[in-house]
Symmetry: C2
Subunit: 350 residues, 2 copies
DNA sequence: ATGAAAGCGCTAACAA
DNA sequence: TTGTTAGCGCTTTCAT
């Protein structure tokens, strides 16, 4: 039989090439072939090379299912989310995936909406597939996913969602983020800073408001009542109407609870002929590119660093899977201020 | 030994419960236990019930890896995308997942950006994990993913991305979608309809423009030169400036290439004091909720039905996996017009 | 009606 | 240095 050149480049068709095929073709035993391809055991470099070459030629691809069965490790994790629009889950996913892909770990993405049945379905599927771990993510820090993940028998990490007791969780530091925003305004010399934000039933609304008040107090500035409404542009515009309808002097800065409100605020101000940032500076929250970057002027806003958060979650899950101990608790990851143009030129201190 | 009540509710801890555990506990053989739990073979109803009850009590969960190894089927598919923002990939994913989850199939989501190395990494991982198939998706119908999927040895379906030759693909019917939009305007009595769209290097720009021209011709209306620019709000506003800066009579309807342009157009018109939809009707494309619903007035726009497209792709992949033959070729799935308020009340014909 | 045995494709201990 | 063997957890003939 000629040295197999005729096999070159043939894609495995019907039956995939197995390690046994490689071993036979190379004239060695299964075990030897295995060791050769895993750079384990001892053998002549020549043998190893020959086996590897044979594997390459045959288009051999190890069967991960068999490997996983044996190693008790599937190199697979599940990510649960209820964030249908992906505003939060996609950056998280990007970070998670980035942390895992280089370790050969793939991610099952499962949208459970807010449906317990769907959640159970996905979790069952994951568990049967023997995922090495699960990352639970969401769209709200103060709401749980519609499934109980506390007794699963696999490591679970919570990222950007309300965790169970004694769980390991990563969340954004909303107080810190709000501080960043308000301190920025203070540093720019703004003195009458108001806060227009979302509905009171969101925990973050109170956390951010508390930080807002704290920073004003520290700066010796008067605080205005926090204005709560919807997370929408129209609420932002409405808030501007309220703020500027009285003859009294309006604010010179508005810290908004999210980018959509901020966008509404900016539009409302422009339509009243009020210059941004000249007369009023505006800061948003979320750094939702599509909203923030297209505002007029482009929005200075707080970024929750969700990709980094996802990366941390992924790496931590990996540690857990490797059996390393991880202290339970909630870790708050810092936000970051993205300076665009809605507050004017940043002071020279940066 | 007492009848095991003390085991009730104990979550499997260290070593997961195996079928062997169930068999021993129930006092039967492995084979019998397997059959009992799969509703196969023949045995007394009593035996079957007892085994099932035992499994339940022990919290037995079949090891999908072992099953997959044997059945040569992993109940797992991979979804490839290069759509980082998820504008297209998330609706697709939702549809795909919906079609698959009830069949116990989970989805690996893999963002390959436009990086061939990353793409190869993900595809290799999928193949090693023995995915039953792959769905390739993207953000442009006229660009390929940065990896060759033609010789993988597993079924591949293309959804909303440029397919390889002889592949099975699902795409949106952009001509049809554009027809829907322009015919809507015609039906509402608009006569001077212009088209403001994206860059010429996008194939869809030409497809939609062709449909725009065709509909105008059929209606005996004059077509205006198609205005190509960026896919941005600012281009929409600029287009309005161009259209209305001359004293000549401007259009009474504007068909926009996407929702962002449409939003810019609406803003531009409002800022010029031109009533929408009174004086000018506006239609968008994409039905990107966050942009379309928050426009003033809310935007009538074309929805590409991406979730349905994903569902089709998922179901078709399933057929393929089951060995059913599927005709290769590109299937165009119809779009749908979502009527909001930017064109005025729809005529009584609906 | 039930069970023993042979694998699915691979790895790792132990022999040779 | 290489090969033999015993599984990983499960399904499936084929006996009994």
């Amino acid at each position: 039989m000629a040295e197999g050149m005729e096999r070159e480049g043939i894609a495995p068709r019907k039956r995939p090439v197995t390690l046994r095929d490689v071993a036979e073709e190379a004239g060695v035993s299964l075990a030897t072939a295995s060791k050769a391809l895993n750079d384990q055991g001892r053998m002549t470099a020549e043998t190893r090379a020959r086996i590897q070459e044979t594997a390459r030629r045959l288009g051999f691809r190890p069967n991960g299912l068999a490997q996983s069965l044996l190693r008790q490790r599937s190199f697979t994790v599940g990510m649960l989310t209820n964030d249908t629009y992906g505003r939060f889950s996609l950056p998280l996913m990007a970070g998670i995936s980035e942390a895992l892909v280089d370790n050969g770990v793939s991610v099952f993405l499962c949208n459970v909406e807010d449906d317990p049945r769907l959640g159970q379905l996905h979790v069952d599927a994951m568990l049967e597939k023997r995922v090495d771990g699960i990352i639970a993510t969401g769209k709200r820090l103060d709401r749980r996913l519609p499934i109980d993940l506390s007794q699963l028998g696999v490591p679970v990490i919570y990222a950007f969602t309300e965790p169970d007791a004694d769980a390991i969780a990563f969340v954004s530091d909303d107080e810190g983020g709000a501080r960043l925003a308000v301190e920025h305004l203070v540093r720019l010399g703004r003195r009458r800073i108001v806060h227009v934000t979302g509905p009171a039933r969101f925990a973050v609304v109170h956390q951010r408001a508390a930080a807002y008040r704290a920073v004003l107090a520290e700066a010796g500035l008067a605080e205005a009542p926090v204005m709560m409404g919807d997370w929408t542009e129209s609420w932002g515009r409405e808030a501007v109407d309220i703020l500027f309808s009285q003859a009294a002097d309006g604010p010179d800065a508005i810290f908004c609870g999210n980018d959509q409100i901020a966008r509404g605020v900016i539009d409302g101000l422009r339509e009243r002929g009020i210059d941004v940032p000249g007369s009023v500076a505006v800061v948003g929250f979320d750094n939702w590119e599509i909203v923030a970057a297209e505002a007029r002027p482009p929005l200075t806003t707080v970024d929750m660093n969700l990709a980094a958060l996802g990366r941390e979650a992924g790496l931590t899950l990996l540690s857990l899977v490797d059996g390393k101990p991880v202290e339970p608790g909630i870790r708050k990851l810092p936000c970051r201020l993205v300076v665009r143009q809605s507050c004017g030129r940043p002071p020279g201190d940066q």
